[in-house]
Amino acid sequence: MAGAAETRLVSGDTSRSNAVAAAAVALAAVLFVTSLAALFEVITISDPFAGVPVVTVLGGTLSLLGVAVITFGVGSYVGAVETEPSRSAGLVAAVVFGVVWFAVGGAVTSRVLGIGGVAWAFVALLTGAVASAVTAVPREDIGSTLPAGAVTLLAGMTFLTGSVGPAWVWELEFEQQASLTAEFAIPVVTLFCALLAGWAAAKAYGGFGARGRKMGAYLLIYLNAGSIVSVLFILIAFTAFRGIPGLLNGTEFGLGTGPTVFGFALPVSIPFVMHGVSLFNDFQGVLPAIAGTIWLVVGAVLFAVPLGVGAAIFLTEYAERGRFTQVVEVATNGLWSTPSIVFGLFGFAFLIPRFGGGKSLLSGMLTLGFMLLPLVLITSREAMLAVPDEYRDASAALGVSKWQTIRSVVVPAALPGVVTGVILGVGRIAGETAPILLTMTGGTFVPGERTVDVIGGFEFVSTPPFVANPELLRATTALPFQLYALITAGVGLGDNVSSPTEFQWATALVLLLVVLSFYAIGIGARYYFRRKLDYE
């Protein structure tokens, strides 16, 4: 947007002082990464790094960073560095630094001086107020660097002098005992200081003022976006890394090794996804859970998609916009945000007595269908509203009846949106545990021969309701529940499978793969349809 207005004259102007600020940002980035590594015990803070303990190195770097930030701010204030600061650092910064220094003041009084109660609160409030004033009152270059630099310097000196060393522990003296240890406190404090000082340094790099603020804010926002993506990546990679050994346990390739499907033997055998649990298996697996999940999804889709799409048609095409559509909208949005466990309770109270009095696959299907319904309705409605009115008018002008128009113009045009919404919704319900907990699932391990076979289960009987399917009315299992059962089973698991941890992680991986493949298909479909629409 405004990037177009930026001239080379401004952006190409990198003086020596700018280089110092850039170096400070880089230093903060290094500290940020190091503190994360220390937090997750990739590096240990008491280990030596180049002959000096890591905690001392952290302290030294923090002090350096703090001094650099303060020097830059003071330099700018006395006019040694050319910047364009605003009159004040602003209210948000004042509040943030007030809170930070309130905590610092409180921690120092209670830890070093050993004062509690009213005096503690007084000192903490006083430091917080002073920090707020220092931030808000002087010019921006002092206001945004001094509090950040000072807190960084203070933390650095504490680590450097050994006041807070690797053996430091703060007993919180709660009735339920808890303490802050150095392994936690030092990385977390370093992390916060790196963020604060990095922000101040980025502002300094931009020369304060409007441009400096943009720099500071963008640094934090980009960092946040990057962290979210890396958390996602780490979660998936970690599960895959831990789950693959269990998943591929006993895998064989070669003609005729796999189970027979439709009279044809698969050329690969992965016991984990092709067997249930039984005494005679060399390798145990989760086939019944996979089959259960598939049937659950099929049942929920068969129930929710016609209902949701039909209701969306009525709301967009037939109903006049008014009180009624508003009520339906509020109701669907309310249904959408209803907690999944409440759906489970409802299924328990409403469906179970009506389907034979016990937990059953059918109750699970309908409960998940209830959950899927609002999502299908909302997305279908959006897709139908997005169909231009010209389409409907053109069809009506040809003398086509209203229903014919809906069937052959509106629904096909809205289909991409509906399909995408359904797939994403299915991804969501396939991973749900809470609703099926109360309505469908039984034991921890289900033997392979009890894999549900709904199609083969239908039979006719002489008493009402005349059609029966024992497969549908039996408690079975599904992947998310299987994982939950594996977690809660704890120690007793070892009797059934040789390596419980491997089995758990492999189950988690299979569940993740099933759910994420729905998402991948859904997101892929959206791209495909959007590109197609763009060409048209």
């Binding site: 405004a2 005992q177 926002i221 979210i228 466990i341 991973g431 939950y484 809660t488």
Partner: protein
């Protein structure tokens, strides 16, 4: 005053009745007959289903046959009737949920009544004392420890999800170059797709032992880390709703600001965010709703003992939330204890429904303020 209102209401009703009778007169009589049969059969089938009768299949098959006949011969009207029935069905489900969980929880509300100033208030004792004991007398079903747990988890989760979510929404809607956005946006969606039990599993096997070690607590399970995990799970909701709100701010407002020579960030901070403020707060509110209703991660990671932490702000210990209470105890619960679980469900349902309606109201007001036609 009231008289004119009644008159206006009566006018509206007569108008609708007239419109309906006109509509009926326009239709083919056989088509009308078919639709009436369908409606009647469906109502009877529904009544039969409600009264747990296996004979409900009979009217339902009549409905199916009638619908099939109608579809072949009078498709327009049949389709209209079917779609209407589906719409009613959706509302009916919400009503049924409300009725059924309320009805199931009545006994425990009656059991836990206390007298205040000589008037017996049902259910009050659930909130005035903090004892949950389903085994040894006096048997007490207090909701206070669970409400405390839910509040703790929700506060921490909101502290995580709100700032990170709003900042990510700003990134997606205002800052990110197109290519980067195409990479981050599906990432956020997939984050929403990871099943909660997988989060719970990772939390249980990795995070909880680590936290117990770091904070030297007795045993595992802390509100702090459940809150962080739940915050991560509520994050995608906040991001997507806040992003919608931010991008619904008219481009002309932003361009006007940029034309004054402001930086991107100044425009965001003083134009876009204030204009979208109500939408962004609705996003946070929906995130809070998600956090309150999150079940599996809390169930797996918490201790599952319905008690208050000591002291109340001790977030390094995690006992039980409203959701985890239900998931932990449904197995062995029966009678009054099961009803108490339904009471927890009622509290959850009402809270989250109120949040949902509130955020819809906020969004509606914002749309009206920005004058958008959408």
């Amino acid at each position: 005053m009231i008289g004119t209102q009644v008159l206006a209401a009566r006018n509206a009703v007569t108008q609708q009745v007239r419109a309906l009778s006109n509509f009926i007169e326009d239709q083919d009589p056989t088509a009308l007959a078919v639709v009436s049969v369908m409606t009647g059969a469906l109502l009877v089938a529904f009544a039969g289903f409600l009264s747990v009768s296996s004979l409900a299949i009979v009217p339902f098959s009549i409905f199916v046959v009638a619908a099939g006949y109608g579809w072949l011969n009078h498709q327009g009207l049949t389709a209209r009737m079917l779609t209407f029935a589906m719409t009613v069905g959706t509302i009916l489900i919400l009503l049924l949920i409300t009725v059924f969980i309320f009805v199931e929880s009545i006994p425990v509300f009656v059991y836990e009544s206390t007298t205040v100033f000589g008037i017996s208030v049902p259910g009050l004792r659930m909130f005035t004392q903090a004892e949950w004991d389903a085994v040894s007398p006096p048997i007490r079903y207090s909701m206070v420890p669970m409400i405390h747990g839910t509040v703790m988890v929700t506060l921490i989760a909101t502290a995580v999800a709100a700032p990170l979510g709003i900042s990510a929404a700003l990134f997606l809607s205002e800052i990110a170059p197109a290519t980067l956005r195409e990479a981050v946006k599906p990432g956020v969606e997939i984050l929403a797709g990871i099943p909660s039990i997988v989060y719970g599993f990772i939390g249980f096997t990795i995070l909880s032992p680590w936290a117990a070690d770091q904070f030297r607590t007795t045993g595992q399970g802390s509100y702090l880390f459940v809150g962080i995990v739940v915050g991560l799970m509520a994050l995608p909701t906040v991001v997507s709703v806040a992003e919608d709100a931010l991008s619904s701010v008219p481009e002309s407002m932003k361009s006007g600001s940029l034309a004054m020579g402001t930086t991107d960030w100044q425009t965001m901070a003083s134009i876009t965010i204030p204009a979208a403020f109500s939408g962004v707060s609705a996003a946070v509110l929906l995130g809070v709703g998600r956090a309150i209703g999150e079940t599996m991660a809390a169930t797996v990671m918490l201790r599952g003992v319905p008690q208050l932490t000591k002291p109340l702000y001790n977030a390094f210990y995690g006992q039980s939330t409203l959701t985890s209470l239900i998931a932990n105890n449904y197995g062995e619960a029966d009678g009054l204890q099961m009803d108490a679980l339904f009471a927890a469900g009622v509290i959850l349902f009402i809270t989250v429904l109120a949040i949902s309606v509130g955020s819809q109201y906020i969004e509606w007001r914002m749309r009206r303020k920005l004058g958008g036609e959408n």
